[in-house]
Each structure stands twice: as C-alpha cells, then as structure tokens.
C-alpha cells in the first residue's frame, strides 16, 4: 500500500480498526506532539541545552509500528528519539528531565536529548552519530537470534543515514545471517538541510535493499493505519526467521532539523501544505469523528489529559535537581554488574 504523503489521505480502512485502537493512536501521537512542543518551549527558555531534534510531524511512524510489537522486541534509533521513547512507554517525566539535564532523567542527566535508554522498555538509544545505530540494531537482533527467541529489533534511521556506508555493510550481514531486524527508514525528505534529490539519484531508499536480497516497501508514514499494516507484514517476515525487512516510511518533519535551523532549504508553503493536508493526528481525529467513535468533547478531554501529562513532565524536569557532582565519576566502568550473562540465555 505504498502511497506518497503528497497524495490525499484516503478515508482509511476504518472498517477493520477498532475504536480503542484509534483512540490509542490519537492519544499516543498527541502525547508526542505536545511533548515536543513543550520541549521546544523549554529550549527557548534556556532550560534545555545543546542539540534538540523534535519529532513533530513524524508521529505516525513510531506509533503505528509500536502497535505491532510484543514484549521483548527491541528498538533503537538516532538522535531524533523523544517520540520513540514515549511511544514505547517510557515516562514523559524521565525524558523531559533528561532534556533539562537533571538527575531524574533516564540517563541521570548525563546523556541529554540524543542519548537516552531504557533496558526495561527495550529501548537501546538514542545515538548521536548518523547511521551508527544501524549495525547496533542488527547486533541486538543477532543476540536474539543467538538466544533462540523470536523477538525482532526495530532499527530506525533517516534518509540522511541511508547514505552512510555502514548501513550497507549491515544490510549485507543482516541478510546473510537472517537477522530478525526491521530497518525503518524514516524518510522525512531532508537530511538536515539537504533534500533527497540533492543527495542521491536513487528514487527509493527501500529499493537499495534489493541488492542484498532484502525485501522492502515504501509506506505512507503519515497514515498510522498504513504504517501498522506494513509493520505487521514486516514483523511476520522477521519473526518467522526470514531475515530482515525494510520499511521506507514517507514522512515529514514540520520543525527544523534541530533548534538552530535556518529554514532556508524549503518553503514555508511546503511545510504548511503538509500540515494542512497530511497531518497524521488530524487524520486519526477525522476517522474518530466521522466514524462516530468519539465526540469533540471526548477528544477535548483526551487533549486535556495529554496536556496534564506534558505539563507534569515539564514541572518535574525543572524541579528535579541537577546530578550530584560525584556523578561525574560514576558509570564510566560497569564493574559492579554481573560478570556473566549466561544465565540470561535461553539455550
């Protein structure tokens, strides 16, 4: 069901999607959007420092794919990672407090926006080097295969990372060893400020997998139902031991690459058109209203619920203290962790 985001949204396959499901997507996507808007605000107030890459516009990708996961499945992504963490169930408080560099953050304030992790939620980062998460994700999948379970790893990267050599080294080994990894290319069409057409003659990115024997497809990443449907197909392929699968999610980021984006590489009109015509949250909102699944009032109460979560996370992120100074010297070496991992193996 490949569809470019510039095409108009179909009324959706709402027939086979439940009310609860739609409400969950709406809620999860809205949480990411409101969270990111708040992060942008806090950045403007000087409470968040350094790099901060917002996920606004791309919410349908992670929310749709998370709907296909089961316990033990892993995910890893780049530095544009806040949405992925919220979508897999990490606490808004812990993410926001990491953004403000506080002890209550997921990395105790030592990682920042680009470097957060949760073993509990199987979220493996948060990686700041473009493309580095791709072999790392394949390595996580290698570990699952070695242990003999049927978990899969969602390895997210962008159209920019798609031009890194290590992506193709990884494709080759992932297919060679039939690793249960789903490569999710979030093609938001701009690698920082460089559009696809200024960086490659390839017209599709998923098609590059063909050279290695990896199947894949292009997906309308602005349609959470299309994302989920494609995700289910990919997950089934991987869980069955057939090796990797590539999903090229055609998506769009509304905000700049980071907070200091000159916005000179695309027009205001292009961004506005996407917001007006292809917005993923508005799409689900309309499905809910038109399908008679929810009233305006129902949605307003969800909006308020989300707003409360986000405001609470912002409050927490300001109240949580900075890390104590002795944190400078902790977590450099892990010599207090168990010396063998063999007991974790189901072999």
């Amino acid at each position: 069901m490949a569809r470019k985001p510039t095409e108009t949204a179909a009324p959706a396959a709402s027939a086979n999607v439940s009310r609860d499901e739609l409400l969950k997507y709406y809620r999860d996507m809205l949480l990411i959007r409101r969270f990111e808007e708040k992060a942008g605000q806090l950045y403007g107030m000087g409470l968040i420092g350094g790099f901060c890459h917002l996920y606004i516009g791309q919410e349908a990708v992670v929310v749709g794919l998370e709907a296909t996961t089961k316990e033990g499945d892993k995910r890893i992504t780049s530095y544009r990672d806040h949405g992925h963490m919220l979508a897999c169930g990490m606490e808004a408080r812990g993410v926001m407090a990491e953004l403000t560099g506080r002890i209550g953050g997921y990395s105790k304030g030592k990682g920042g926006s680009m470097h957060m992790f949760s073993r509990e939620k199987h979220f493996y980062g948060g990686h700041g080097i473009v493309g580095a998460q791709v072999p790392l994700g394949a390595g996580l999948a290698f570990a699952d295969k070695y242990k003999g379970n049927d978990n899969v790893t969602f390895t997210y990267f962008g159209d920019g990372a798609s031009n890194q050599g290590q992506v193709y080294e990884t494709y080759n080994m992932a297919e060679l060893w039939a690793l249960p990894v789903i490569f999710v290319i979030e093609n938001n069409q701009y690698a920082m400020g460089t559009s696809m057409k200024r960086s490659t003659r390839s017209t599709t990115l998923y098609g590059r997998g063909e050279a290695f024997g990896i199947p894949g497809e292009q997906v309308d990443g602005m349609d959470v139902l299309a994302v989920k449907a494609a995700g289910e197909k990919a997950v089934a392929h991987c869980r069955a031991g057939n090796g990797p699968y590539i999903l090229e999610m055609m998506t769009y980021r509304y905000r700049g690459h980071s907070m200091s984006d000159p916005a000179k590489y695309r027009t205001r009109e292009e961004v506005q058109k996407m917001r007006d015509e292809r917005d993923a949250i508005e799409h689900v909102r309309q499905l809910l209203l038109q399908g008679g699944h929810a009233s305006e009032d129902d949605l307003k109460s969800i909006d308020k619920e989300i707003k409360d979560i986000v405001n609470d996370s912002a409050d927490f992120s300001r109240e949580s203290p900075e890390p104590p100074l002795d944190e400078l010297w902790t977590d450099i070496y892990a010599d207090d962790v168990p010396q063998t991992a063999a007991e974790d193996l189901n072999v």
């Binding site: 990395s107 980062g125 990686h127 072999p135 080994m173 892990a334």
Partner: protein, 475 residues
C-alpha cells in the same frame, strides 16, 4: 643448467617450515605453475609451485622434515638431457631459485600475513629488524603459586586456550571476525575453534570492519559477550567510531544502564616489512579513552591470563596483541582457571639503578637492554605495565622511589605516547624522587618505511634503550 629449488619464505616473518608433502617425485616432468609440495609453517599450510620447466632430478629434503630453514635447497630441477645429479654439490652450475608460493585469491592485505607472497627474495638479507627482536623470558613470576607446573607455550596457543576456556565456561561468549572460522584464523589464533564450537559461536564475517564492530557492540548491549577479532588493529580504524562512540561511552551516557561487555582483539604494532599502513602501535590512542580498558601483553602467560580476564570484564576491552610475539614461547602455568587481574604491573626483573617501564613487545627491548646493561654493572629494574587502562601507578611509584631514574619503552609514535603520559605523571607525583629527567624511548616520528634498513631505523631497539639508561644514570 640445473636449478636448485629453495625452501621459500611464505610470509614476512617465516624463518623455517615443515616440508609436509611432496606432490612430485624424482623423474617427473614439471612445468611452470605445477604444484610441487605442501609446506607448513606455524601459521598456515601452503602449496608452492614450480617457476621453471624441467625434470625433477632429486628431492633433497624428504617428506615430513621439520625445521627446514628458508633458502635451503630442497630439490633439483634439471633441463632435458641433463643428469639428475647435475648441480648438486656444484654451485657453479646451479641457479638457486626459490619456488613460488601460490598467491591466495582475495584481499590484498592478506599479503601481510602468513599467506602472503614473498617470492624470489633472499630472506636473510631482507630480514626485518622486527623479527630479530629477542624475547627473553621474564624472570619473576608472581602470578601463580609456587610449585605450579608450567608448560612452554606460544603466545598464539595461549590466546587460543584462553578463548576456548572462556567459551566453554560461558555460553554468551562468541568469536566474530574475518577468517576466524573456516580459514582457521588469519594468524591461526582461532585454529580449531570452529570445529569445537560450531558456526553459531565462531562467526566468519565479510570484510566490513565498521559493520561487524557495530554488530558486535549491539550484541553486547543485547546480553552477549562478543570477542571481535580484527585481522589487525590497523583495520580497526574503519571501526573506531563504534569502539569509542558506541562501546566506550554508552554506559556513561545511559546513566549506568547500558553496559557493553566486549573484547576487541587482534595484532597491533609493527609487523615485518609491511610498511606504513600495516605497522602502527595504537596503544596510546585507545589508552586515552575513558570507558575502555586497554591490555597489551608480552608473555604467553600474560596473554592467556589477561585475555580470560578481558572476556569476563563487563566493559569494552581493547586487547592489543603482536604478530611477532605470536610464535614466541614462554612458560604458562597449568592451572584450572588461570587469570591475571587488570591494573597490576609486573616486576619482570628486579634492579636498583634505573626503572625501565614498558609493555607489549617493548618488553623484549627492555629486557634485552637490561641484560646488556648488567654486563656493564648497571642494575636495571624492568616493569611490565601489562594494562594501559588501568595503569598500575603504585607500582611505578614504588620503583621510582627505589631507583630514582626512569626510561620508558614503547613501539608507538613519540608524540602523545604512553611514555609522555608516564613522564608527566611521575613529574607530578614523584618529582623529588627523580635524579634525572625521564627519557621516553619510542618508535620514530615517521610512517613506517618498507626498506629493511630504514625500517630498522624507525623501530625502537634495545641499544637505544641502553643509551637512554646511560644518560639517566650518567654512566
């Protein structure tokens, strides 16, 4: 004119080999390209082929003969009509001609290792300074209980035993890298491990250093304990982003959640006659990085005990081996589970006049220098750091307080060397104990040249260490 066929050098470091099998017999006619015999070195078995046409006159070395020196005549090839006896014992009528080892298909870099081409050269004349390094046995052994049986073992065997023991001990341990499996290891370190542990745990990779280093790190995040072999550490430069940014920093960046128990190992430093891109000591590079542990063993016992510790360590460990040392033998204790803790230097030789601090192959120069100096009445203490992260500073301090003079020895470049760091540390922490400035003996500040004479000049030597000691002892 009869032609003597000489024992070929099949690698830059080969000095002798076993004539495993003749594939021709006396009286056979051979032409250029025919396979004559199989020759086995401690690293590989190679076929070698005829360069010239002729009849095999005599086989001078019988099958199964071990220790045949490079350049020894092993057969005589005669032209049509010539006597089979022609030439032997009459050098005036023979033309020595080393047989041509078969070049292996594949990667260009493979030529630096045991499978490499080294045809038609005179190894004696071209013998590299690197391979002439003496490797004295350190004479103090506090790492195992008195009375423990020891066995002579090469560094190669010791490393292999360490990996095999740890793979037996922990199912999560696996080995991955180029040619570690079916090829039996580019340097034969992993020989036999594929047969013993199977392809699930001995994983041959394509030539994709960055990719498989990243996959190894990901597997470590996922709960396994990978040993990633780099065919040499020169190629780890392709993967250094994953070693440093992904492996070393993630525990810190995750607030302690995401440990990365992984060993990156392989030969490091100058090999013989392989020039600049394949001859470099990375000790100081990796030792600079918080989050890494860095090991550089000298003896076989240390190689075994420290590699076992490295595999059990919950952190990323850089384990720097040395191609020249692989074939050298040392005493290794025969114990059920012999490990050596990180961060404990070893006094390899007790002395009172000067402290020579070194590690890895630098120890060979340090010990040889100490021996020469003792003939002149200078009693040098030799300290083997063994691990460069952590460094055993108390051991350094103890020795400096005793001798008041220090020379450091390493193969790496002089700028930003381990010796520079030690000098600074000693100056800050033991200034009043010093009777002379610390001297750093290092490799020269040049890319490694190919020519044998220039290579000799570029490398650190025992004589340079002797000279440095004379300076700091004013003798």
């Amino acid at each position: 004119m009869a032609t003597e066929i000489l024992m070929p050098a099949l690698s830059p470091t080969m000095e002798e080999g076993t004539l495993a099998k003749w594939l021709v017999k006396e009286g056979d006619t051979v032409k250029s390209g025919d396979i004559l015999a199989e020759i086995e070195t401690d690293k590989a078995t190679m076929e070698f082929e005829a360069v010239d046409e002729g009849t095999v006159g005599r086989l001078l070395v019988s099958e199964g003969t071990q220790g045949v020196k490079v350049n020894t005549p092993i057969a005589v090839l005669v032209a049509e009509g010539e006597s089979a006896d022609a030439g032997t014992g009459d050098s005036g009528t023979t033309v020595p001609h080393a047989a041509e080892p078969l070049a292996q298909p594949g990667r260009g870099e493979a030529s630096r290792d045991e499978t490499g081409e080294a045809p038609d050269r005179a190894p004696a004349a071209a013998k590299s300074a690197v391979e002439q390094v003496n490797t004295p046995e350190p004479d103090e052994s506090p790492d195992w209980p008195e009375g423990t049986t020891v066995k002579q073992m090469t560094v190669r065997e010791a490393l292999r035993e360490a990996m095999a023991e740890e793979m037996e001990r922990d199912e999560a341990v696996f080995l991955m890298g180029e040619e570690v499996g079916e090829y039996q290891g580019a340097y034969k370190i992993s020989q036999g491990l594929l047969d013993r542990f199977g392809p699930r745990r001995v994983v041959d990779t394509p030539i994709s250093e960055m990719g498989f280093a990243g996959i190894g790190v990901g597997a470590a995040f996922g709960g396994l304990r990978p040993i990633v072999e780099f065919m040499t550490f020169n190629f780890a430069m392709q993967a250094i982003d994953h070693i440093i940014n992904s492996a070393a920093k993630t525990l810190y960046m995750s607030g302690g959640q995401m440990g990365c128990p992984i060993v990156f190992r392989g030969p490091n430093g100058a090999a013989a006659r392989v020039a600049a891109q394949h001859s470099q000591d990375f000790a100081a590079w990796y030792a600079a990085i918080p989050g890494l542990k860095v090991v550089q063993p000298y003896s076989a016992a240390d190689a075994k005990g420290l590699l076992k510790t490295a595999i059990r360590d919950p952190n990323p460990v850089i384990f720097l081996e040395n191609e020249i040392l692989y074939g050298r033998s040392f005493d290794v204790p025969q114990m059920d589970d012999f490990t050596i803790p990180f961060g404990k230097a070893r006094v390899a030789r007790k002395g009172k006049d000067v402290t020579i601090i070194s590690f890895g192959i630098g120890m060979a120069h340090a010990l040889e220098a100490a021996e020469k100096l003792s003939n002149d009445g200078i009693d040098a203490e030799v300290l083997d750091l063994r691990t460069l992260r952590p460094i055993d500073y108390p051991a350094i301090l103890r020795s400096v307080q005793k001798t008041n003079r220090v020379v450091t020895v390493e193969e790496g470049f002089p700028v930003g060397s381990i010796g520079n760091h030690l000098s600074a540390w000693i100056m800050e922490n033991a200034f009043d104990w010093l009777d002379a400035p610390v001297i750093n003996c290092t490799g020269k500040d040049v890319p490694m040249p190919y020519a044998a004479n220039l290579e000799r000049l570029a490398l650190i030597t025992a004589d340079e260490v002797v000279e440095a000691v004379r300076k700091v002892t004013y003798r």
